[in-house]
């Protein structure tokens, strides 16, 4: 698996999932279990479940703070059934000096099926709310959705290496004259 950005480049990437029970079976990035993480000398960039990262108290919150101490950056991942309220909570936490999520760098949205279009709205919502960090997508999206996904605010995509052969990257340029869905001034008649 490799990470491709919206500028059609394969990017260097160090994000690692912290293993949890509800991790989808097909997540494509490296995984690390908690005990390994605590014994590492270096501090990697780790991805944790969004709902865990938002826990305010109890064991989960304590674990989060432990992870925070043993990592460089924390990113969160969620599935497409996440609500906009949860995203709003996330963004509030990313501005909270007491939160492990302060200065959140990455939100990964995992798409369970090609036709599941919720990821488009979740990304657009994050952008409209002013989130400026990276939005990454993994799962069953297709190359024919890349142009719409980047227009909805997604920056990077986790894709299988064999997908990249041929003209995969040209999909980023599909329908380049189409509107972005955000401004009336971008409709053809008003340009």
């Amino acid at each position: 698996m490799v990470v491709v950005n919206r500028h059609s480049q394969v990017t260097e990437d160090n994000w690692t999932f912290v293993e949890v029970n509800n991790l989808p079976t097909d997540v494509p990035l490296p995984q690390i279990c908690l005990s390994e993480l605590l014994h590492l000398n270096e501090r990697p960039d780790v991805l944790v479940p969004m709902t865990d990262a938002l826990s305010q108290s109890g064991l989960v919150a304590e674990t989060m703070s432990l992870i925070n101490n043993h990592s460089s950056r924390i990113g969160v991942w969620c599935a497409t059934d996440t609500s906009t309220e949860t995203l709003d909570e996330l963004l509030a936490a990313s501005k909270n000096a007491d939160s492990v999520l302060l200065g959140l760098d990455l939100v990964l949205i995992h798409v369970p099926a090609f036709a599941d279009g919720r990821g488009f709205s979740l990304a657009m919502h994050l952008r409209q709310q002013g989130y400026e960090g990276e939005i990454r997508m993994s799962g069953d999206f297709g190359r024919d959705q890349l142009a719409y996904l980047t227009r909805s605010g997604v920056d990077t995509f986790v894709v299988a290496e064999q997908e990249l052969k041929g003209d995969f990257m040209s999909s980023f340029d599909a329908l380049e004259s189409a509107q972005q869905g955000r401004a009336a001034s971008n409709l053809p008649m008003f340009r």
Partner: protein, 559 residues
């Protein structure tokens, strides 16, 4: 009408090359079925019983003559020389070859036409009143708003993979000729007490398995917020609509399950938090620009009295012309002009039944010539599967009628029993449970006395071949639904529906009748009406007053 600029043309051209590549990748096995399916649907391509079906978009039903000629040419070259107009005012080709579809799309793009978002779980063609711009009692012409919505919804990056399809209709009069109350979103142009223009917003109407009349979620939306508010509704639907069951995925189910107040609250919260007053806000300049594409044609100053006198002579001199004038023309805001409805319900032509909504390539060519000569080069498609010449001089009516008669397009049956909305049914559609064309033919053979049909008055008969209700059977004065019983086709009849401003769902008469009994059953129903109606009482009013019972008793008796 709206003229595509370089931006629109670029978009359509880019879409053609995108789909050409997708088709190539599909045919070489690079693109899996489950991904090609939604992609081809969003380019209007279905796989049907015999062949693919290509649905071509006609934005809000408006066509220029050069576009109609191109359609004629395409049906000749790539299909079997005819097209089928739909209730979404689009046109379908029933026999294209999959590998030729990219070429057809390229041909269409040359006249700024396309099949974009005519199918699939995205925002479909916005529809409107076929008499837009010629109504005397219009608050405003809905077409500029339809065009703004078309541009916003075309390739909207966020809303191409919705839980289910999404349909919007806009009207500018109190009378509803676009079935707005059975749309996912219905928009009614209204003015508030200050005289400002805005929209009454209805959400959650729809037919199909679970027919629902739309609910008002906002009584007055100032027009500058049109796009931001639509965006908010669509986002709420995209995130909250059900995706686990396609029969429960339309927005109507979401609105019903949350309840109107809770749904409205979600929309308003989304709108206030994100999009209201944002960059989707339309400006006065935007409206001026949009309206500049829908200016009035160059009407002549007509001496109304002289024109009337001449017309009266023609009407008195020819009963057939008088019937056609009475049934197939409508009033116009400009003195000396009429709107003309061209019936695509020819019924039997030389003993052969013409399916409702079908037009041949030769007819299209002639219609284009006639529209150039008599109606400023413009044709409109209606939700009842007919066509309209919106701006015909009264003094040209007779000549137009003669020309239409020569190509079998002057049947004087608009708003009568034989002006049926009928889906293609089992003969073509792989979803259908029952045939429809044979039943439509049976009805045409039985009810062939025009004076009887005129005496019955306005009756909208809608017939669908399955519960997906493409022909809107729930909202016909008479609705017919084809069902499959152990491999046989049976027909369930309902009465008293309406898609107008008094929109309501019909009541089911009783158990389905056998195919060969449909026309006879209709006769029994109509006899009850004729027998019990009060002076000037329409069929629908009579069903309302009498209830379903007398009809039921007459049809089923003791059975």
């Amino acid at each position: 009408m709206y003229q595509y600029n370089h931006a629109d043309q670029a978009i359509v051209d880019e879409r053609v090359s995108q789909f050409r590549d997708q088709t190539r990748r599909y045919l070489t096995g690079e693109l899996p079925d489950e991904q090609f399916l939604p992609l081809r649907l969003q380019n209007g391509l279905y796989i049907q019983r015999h062949a693919p079906m290509l649905r071509i978009a006609i934005p809000y039903g408006l066509l220029a003559t050069y576009q109609l000629r191109k359609l004629a040419e395409i049906t000749r070259r790539y299909d079997r020389g005819y097209g089928h107009f739909t209730t979404r005012t689009n046109i379908q080709l029933n026999w294209p070859k999959l590998e030729e579809v990219p070429d057809i799309l390229a041909e269409l793009a040359s006249v700024q036409m396309h099949a974009i978002q005519t199918s699939g779980n995205c925002i479909r063609n916005t529809t409107t009143d076929p008499y837009a711009g010629i109504n005397k009692d219009e608050i405003e012409d809905p077409r500029p708003y339809c065009e703004i919505i078309r541009q916003w919804s075309t390739f909207h990056p966020e809303f191409a993979f919705l839980p289910r399809k999404f349909k919007i209709a806009v009207i500018g009069t109190e009378a509803d000729r676009a079935a707005t109350q059975v749309h996912d979103i219905g928009l009614h142009i209204v003015k508030n007490d200050e005289g400002e223009v805005g929209f009454e917003v209805l959400v959650g109407g729809g037919l199909g398995r679970t027919p629902v009349i739309g609910k008002v979620i906002r009584e007055f939306l100032p027009r500058e917020h049109l796009l931001s508010y639509l965006d908010a509704i669509l986002r709420v639907y995209n995130l909250h609509g059900r995706r686990d069951n396609k029969y429960k995925a339309r927005i109507k189910i979401l609105v019903e399950s949350l309840g109107v107040p809770a749904f409205t609250k979600l929309v308003e919260a989304e709108w206030n938090a994100h999009s209201k007053d944002g960059e989707l806000t339309l400006t006065e300049d935007n409206f001026v620009k949009a309206k500049s594409y829908f200016t009035e044609p160059d009407y002549e100053q007509i001496d109304e009295l002289a024109s009337q006198a001449e017309l009266k002579k023609q009407l008195d001199g020819n009963k057939d012309f008088a019937n056609w004038y009475q049934q197939n023309t409508v009033s116009h805001k400009v003195a000396g002009y009429r709107g003309v409805v061209i019936s695509l319900k020819a019924g039997l032509v030389d003993g052969k039944f013409v399916p409702p909504g079908d037009v041949t390539d030769a007819q299209m060519d002639t219609l284009a010539d006639l529209a150039d000569e008599y109606s400023f080069g413009e044709i409109r498609a209606t939700h009842q599967q007919n066509l309209v010449f919106a701006d015909v001089k009264q003094s040209d009516l007779y000549a137009l009628w003669e020309a239409l008669t020569a190509i079998n397009l002057a049947r004087a049956n608009i708003n009568t029993l034989t002006d049926m909305i009928v889906c293609p049914g089992f003969d073509y559609c792989s979803l259908a449970n029952a045939t429809t064309h044979n039943i439509a033919e049976q009805i045409n053979r039985k009810f062939d006395q025009v004076d009887y049909l005129y005496d019955l008055g306005k009756i909208q008969l809608n017939m669908s071949g399955c519960m997906n209700a493409c022909a809107h059977h729930h909202v016909g004065d008479i609705g017919i639904l084809g069902v499959d019983k152990k491999g046989e086709h049976w027909y369930q009849i309902s009465l008293g529906g309406s898609s107008g401003s008094d929109a309501k769902l019909g009541n089911i008469l009783g158990k389905a009748v056998a195919a060969e009994e449909v026309a006879d059953t209709l006769q029994t129903i109509l006899d009850v009406y004729v027998d019990q109606r009060e002076t000037e009482e329409t069929f629908n009013d009579a069903v309302n007053r009498l209830g379903i019972k007398p009809f039921k008793e007459a049809v089923y008796g003791g059975r």
